[in-house]
Symmetry: C2
Subunit: 168 residues, 2 copies
């Protein structure tokens, strides 16, 4: 199973591809799509969409995993994050690839065994879980890999729930 | 000039195409893209994206006009609206069509001369401005046409501002 994890944002969208063979997880590739703050929103979203479509074409993931956004506080931030997520989900949907969403706490627990791990701990644990020589950076890419790891772990359970008609 | 007005939403995205020849505005077509609440978000966004791409192909608009979202109150709503807007802006951006955003008050003033007109007044005035036999419905389509009318009215000013280096 190949999983594309995403950490969508208008300025920077982290991505990470993880392959799972049984309980063995491997990092295939990861990176970060950056957009120019001086270009209009629709062009920034198109840059993200084009890059993601290239990743979907290149890695042919079986699933896409994203963090469920914590929308506490600022509705303006929620709108901006929503637009970047919209671009990402659209490109997955257009290729009929299912998107799984996980809470921050689910992802941190899957990666580090602790739901309140900080950014640095997540980076270290993602590197360790995937057997990387160094912790992945930038943190957007590490967060994307963490979402993919979480999906790999929960994959079989989520599939069983789906088979039973429950949307995980 | 052909303008595609949009009122993006995950459940219902209103659209309206207006052509402007000098000061004469004409409704070319309008409608509403609806998605099934029982399908996953990425599939609903893909339905919207595919339909919008079809409209962009069919009507070849010079510009897309959308309402700037009022994000008062609920961040969860802002996130959901943001995702639908993200799908819409992405499809415009992928075709290099500029998206203009207007506040509710700018749109209502352009259509009815009054920034606090209610939904019914907007529908009636949109019908009158475009010389339609009946007010356009549903209201999502009327709102989309209103955004297009607003852009048609502000088009020359916005162009002059852009030429002067000011993003309208």
């Amino acid at each position: 199973m190949v999983i594309l994890g995403l950490d969508p944002g208008t300025a920077a969208t982290g991505w990470g591809v993880v392959s799972a063979e049984g309980s063995r997880l491997r990092s295939v590739d990861y990176g970060c799509i950056r957009t120019d703050a001086h270009t209009p929103p629709e062009e920034r979203l198109a840059v993200i969409a084009r890059a993601l479509d290239g990743l979907l074409e290149r890695f042919q993931p079986d699933a896409v995993a994203v963090e469920e956004v914590y929308v506490g506080g600022n509705p303006r931030t929620a709108l901006a994050v929503g637009q970047a997520r919209g671009a990402a989900l659209t490109m997955a949907g257009l290729r009929h690839i299912a998107v799984a969403e996980y809470t921050v706490s689910q992802i941190k627990t899957a990666v580090s065994g602790y739901g309140r791990a900080d950014k640095r701990q997540v980076q270290l644990m993602v590197g360790a879980v995937l057997g990387l020589a160094e912790p992945p950076s930038p943190d957007h890419a590490a967060d994307a890999l963490a979402a993919a790891i979480c999906h790999a772990g929960q994959g079989p359970l989520a599939q069983r729930l789906r088979a039973a008609g429950v949307r995980g």
